[in-house]
Symmetry: C2
Subunit: 409 residues, 2 copies
Amino acid sequence: MNISSKSNLNKNIKHIEGFKFITFNAKVKEKSVRDDFLIIIMDDRSKVSAVFTKNKYCAAPVLIAKKNLKNSTKLLVINSGNANAGTGKKGEQDVEKINHKLATLFSIKPSQVLPFSTGVILQPMPVARIMKSFEKYLTKPFLFKSDWLDAAKAIMTTDTIPKAISKTFNIDGHKISCTGIAKGSGMINPNMATMLAFIMLDVSISQKMLNELIKQVVAKSFNLITVDGDTSTNDSLVIASSNKAANEVIKTKNKYYFELEKHLIAIAKNLAQAIVRDGEGATKFVEIEIKNAKNISEVSTVGKVIANSPLVKTAFFASDPNLGRILAAIGNVGSINFDPGKIDIKLNNSIVIRNGQLAKSYSEEKAFLAMKKKEFKLSINLKRGSVTESVFTTDFSYDYVKINAEYRS
Amino acid sequence: MNISSKSNLNKNIKHIEGFKFITFNAKVKEKSVRDDFLIIIMDDRSKVSAVFTKNKYCAAPVLIAKKNLKNSTKLLVINSGNANAGTGKKGEQDVEKINHKLATLFSIKPSQVLPFSTGVILQPMPVARIMKSFEKYLTKPFLFKSDWLDAAKAIMTTDTIPKAISKTFNIDGHKISCTGIAKGSGMINPNMATMLAFIMLDVSISQKMLNELIKQVVAKSFNLITVDGDTSTNDSLVIASSNKAANEVIKTKNKYYFELEKHLIAIAKNLAQAIVRDGEGATKFVEIEIKNAKNISEVSTVGKVIANSPLVKTAFFASDPNLGRILAAIGNVGSINFDPGKIDIKLNNSIVIRNGQLAKSYSEEKAFLAMKKKEFKLSINLKRGSVTESVFTTDFSYDYVKINAEYRS
């Protein structure tokens, strides 16, 4: 992890009632010496919701997971080492073969398996090696593991650390436990199809409300991070609840729904930020707060046009308060009809741009010192509405180019 | 110029009947030791058309040039060294002051001046120094210059070479002469507001047809280049014709109109490509041909999502045939509902992706060797329509980061 965080990442990771898991080395990469396969088994009452990449080249497992999501899911099956993307009909057939085998082994239907893959693109899945590993590791009684850090490790590709986080909170006086795992270095990994996140909890909730919840959670967490603006072919977020907790089932958008939403957004934000902090080549962790936008979509659009500008990112790397580049980036948002002459910008807590022009109190030296820190915050006040959220990003460093250009050597 | 071209750049630059110009050192930057001010004077029968940046933070001169374009333009006034962007009302007042002074000196109306600026953002224009230079250099009889390379030099900022090109051709048996000048290193210059281009010719043409022409020309030339996806606050393209040539005035979209369009697109493409080739840090000049798109907008959208992907650009730098990144970039085009499973990709003349998957004949070694060259071509066949055009771009190198991150040191 390039830029360490103060969050509870990888600390006190909790077991969640209703979820079991197995990891093993399926030799997805022939020379793999570590676990690269994760199977999460869910109890009958579990509800699962998922959102997937919008990339048109979405991978074979994404296509099948989308299809199977309609059915009552029993297994989440995740491999690292191969993304099974750009593999056509053959790729889908490979997934179905694996799902059929797992269905037999776990006495469920193939359609109850949700598959996920991450790794190299354009390479066929090594189905024979995977099947062989099933014979070796999926014998009864199943050897369930208990430390979810092992699960987080099995889904890593070039991540420098595993990413797991746990949280407990109360809903209507009942304790709810939640554990999330994620992988990704922000889609900056060579040839990797990148972001996967799984959040498990035990809250009692209807399928409809869980489906509603995931939209809000992803919009305010994973959809607000960017390392380089490239959305991968395999991105997936799953939220699964075992419904084991004693709270009254959440069936409407009542106050417990909104409490739950708040907690899940917090855990998802932590996981999302862990991905940004692990961005390879990153030397800075930058929060770009968009204040007083009309809606979350404006936050995302304006925040990302800044966060993805190579000119802005290289300025971050140089601790260079190059406000012209930031203004020019904002000015390039074509879809929102805002008034550039009204925008204020703060760097940490100091005003640097007032109404689209340099603030009188602006000190370039102070701004430079603020940006020399490993973490800083830019706050862009659009003065249009009442929504305030932040986009999180990194800089572009020499190492960014090195990692992405030189991995063959 | 990083990647030299075989075009006629800076060779045999022609005088165009009906245009005169003056250059001088207006000390726009206090320590400037070279000419940074260019005034182009046009004859009465001239017609001028212009297109401007869509950046909302468009600079003060852009706002005023847009307003003044309605009137019969006599002067094109261009300074380097200061973009007069992010300068608010004061910035506009500064332009008006300069225009008033020039109007008096040239016995025209202030509204007959089209102003253009390029240089640093967020800094006030040094109006006093500019006025002083007028006293020194704009005394009658005006000292017109004759070598348009001097004009191209006066508008340079961090361009490594001036960019001028000339072409003559026939319309209905009459000789037409055309000279274009441009500046810009592809908006990758530190703090610079970047692209300016002026194309002068003598063809006889109506204002309406010139206005029509410029849209086609910009769409197929300057709008199809990108270095880093950042559109500057000052980008402008002007096409001006003195109407001195003996051809029958082009008043409709007759065959002469289309011949003229073809020639102007060619000259504008040459200038646009010269800007890309001069992209600082660029080690590769890459043509991304989009074949069989439905329209030019699809070419631009698909071509630029590839050309602006940092993952693709670093792969270009490394001569790495990382086709997964190219497919993933294409898959991120949300606005066009194409079928990724149908796409073919050629690298130079070799098929590498057929129907969204690796071609059987693909050789990674051959692809690597093709990409090791300073120039290569990717051809993406969308199989949707009949429009084929190319986007031109560069790679992301260590020097890209260096130039954009370290210019303060």
